[in-house]
């Protein structure tokens, strides 16, 4: 009986704690009509931002505020919608946290700055500009526009991006690209590793560049690429059947650089690492 009482008390304490935690969270929702060519800017220092396509031409912003030390300013001027998390004092990061779930028309131009993140964008076909210092950034099923992603150390994952002008920059974050294609795809890191998996389709220019980060490329034999890989003081390993080029702008050196083509060589692929390892392998 005594143990039942203790269990009941414990249960009550847990329930109360849970209730008070939920009570501290405040939900806010904003709705706007967005015409063609509309833009949405989200600035959120602490907390997640998730953006998905919704129905019709409405932008629906659901914000969860985790304390009363932060508020959300949201406004629309013409076709420009802006949302900012405003810190009312200098709270701890947990108190300043706002999590956003946003539904948008698929063609919206989206700009997100979320320092801690994570940032997740799915199914948006307009231009994307995503930035976060430590934020993990995930972009999926997007394309037909610019996809610009920048982090200081946050990892970046891009998958199923078609026909995009992709520009990814991170100093220390790892970058993973899966089935990312377009006329121009550029990835640059200092120490972050770069991993690409896909066929480099679309006849575009692909440049993957790092200082000390490793670069690993996995592609199917059906890929049509004109590929070069070069490392100044790192190493280059090739496990993919390429036809060696007879004319190159540099002298290939075993273990340091190579150049070759596969099929018609439709897409240009340049892999450059200063001191990291470059590996090209068959899918």
């Amino acid at each position: 009986m005594a143990s039942m009482t203790r269990a009941t008390r414990l249960g009550l304490v847990v329930a109360l704690a849970t209730c008070s935690a939920f009570a501290a969270d405040k939900q806010k929702e904003f709705r706007y009509n967005a015409g063609p060519g509309a833009s949405l800017t989200v600035v959120n220092e602490f907390g997640s931002v998730t953006v998905r396509p919704g129905a019709g031409r409405q932008v629906v912003i659901a914000a969860t505020l985790h304390s009363d030390k932060v508020e959300v300013d949201s406004s629309q001027k013409g076709n420009r919608i802006e949302v900012h998390s405003r810190l009312l004092a200098s709270p701890k990061s947990d108190d300043a946290r706002v999590d956003y779930e946003i539904r948008v028309p698929a063609d919206i131009m989206l700009s997100v700055r979320a320092d801690d993140g994570p940032i997740r964008v799915e199914g948006v076909r307009g231009d994307l500009t995503l930035e976060g210092d430590a934020a993990e950034v995930t972009v999926q099923d997007c394309g037909n526009g610019h996809v610009h992603v920048r982090t200081v150390k946050g990892p970046i994952h891009l998958s199923n991006i078609s026909n995009g002008h992709v520009e990814v920059t991170s100093v220390g974050g790892d970058v993973a690209l899966n089935a990312v294609t377009g006329p121009k795809v550029t990835v640059s890191t200092t120490k972050g590793n770069i991993r690409y998996s896909g066929d480099f389709a679309g006849g575009g220019d692909f440049i993957l560049n790092s200082h000390s980060g490793d670069i690993e490329v996995t592609l199917p034999t059906s890929a049509s690429v004109d590929l070069s890989a070069r490392s100044i003081s790192g190493s280059v390993q090739q496990d993919f059947p390429l036809q060696q080029k007879t004319h190159t702008s540099f002298q290939p050196t075993p273990g340091r650089s190579f150049a070759g083509t596969s099929n018609t060589g439709a897409s240009s692929v340049q892999l450059r690492s200063f001191s990291g390892k470059i590996r090209v392998k068959k899918q």
Binding site: E45, D133, V152, H211
Partner: protein
């Protein structure tokens, strides 16, 4: 005067106007005159970014030193970069914004300089031994000021920025050494441009955070 000769002294011409030969070439060559116009425009826009203060003399000295290492300008002696008087008060992020703009201009100059080189077949640096290990790079005075800005607005991020600034400075140092070893290496120049681009991005992101 050829375009190559003209472009060697380009930074001075943008700054001072150049001598009679250079002016004559400028009048006769639409390519070079367009280039000078573009660079002057960039310089004017950069001034708009620093309405309150000029960069410190060390910034100018650092850029001059980088450009000299790149072979873009003559070695110092007749320093033609201005040496502005620095006001006593530290004026928020504008000064660092100006530094970020100057980094971008430096990237532009390096990019342009590389593009203006005659095409050469590069083979030496790839097969040559790896460059000697350069001295580990730390953070300089401007970096320290940037870190102070970051500390004020997001103390928890200072260590992240410091760590990544050191990494980028190391990248710049490595790339500069590779360029010094083989000035004709397209690969080394590409890495140098990329390294400066990474540093410019760090400054832009830190300032975006502090100006929010």
């Amino acid at each position: 005067m050829t375009c190559a000769e003209f472009q060697k002294v380009l930074p001075y011409i943008v700054d001072t106007g150049g001598n009679a030969d250079e002016e004559a070439h400028l009048k006769s060559c639409p390519v070079c005159s367009d280039l000078v116009a573009d660079l002057k425009y960039i310089a004017e826009q950069a001034k708009l970014l620093v309405p309150m203060v000029d960069p410190s003399p060390r910034v100018w000295a650092g850029i001059q030193s980088s450009l000299e290492r790149e072979g873009l300008v003559r070695p110092a002696g007749t320093a033609r970069f201005p040496t502005p008087v620095m006001p006593g008060r530290w004026a928020s992020g504008y000064r660092l914004l100006g530094f970020a703009a100057l980094l971008l201009i430096a990237i532009g100059l390096i990019t342009y300089h590389r593009g203006s080189r005659p095409a050469t077949t590069e083979s030496t640096n790839i097969s040559s031994p790896a460059p000697a290990k350069v001295k580990p790079a730390g953070v300089d005075e401007e970096d320290t000021k940037l870190l102070q800005q970051v500390s004020q607005h997001a103390p928890a991020m200072r260590a992240t920025y410091e760590d990544n600034l050191k990494s980028v400075n190391q990248y710049i140092a490595d790339a500069e050494q590779a360029v010094a070893q083989d000035p004709d290496s397209e690969e080394a120049h590409d890495h140098l441009i990329s390294a400066y681009g990474q540093k410019a991005m760090l400054y832009q992101m830190a300032l975006a955070r502090s100006l929010e």
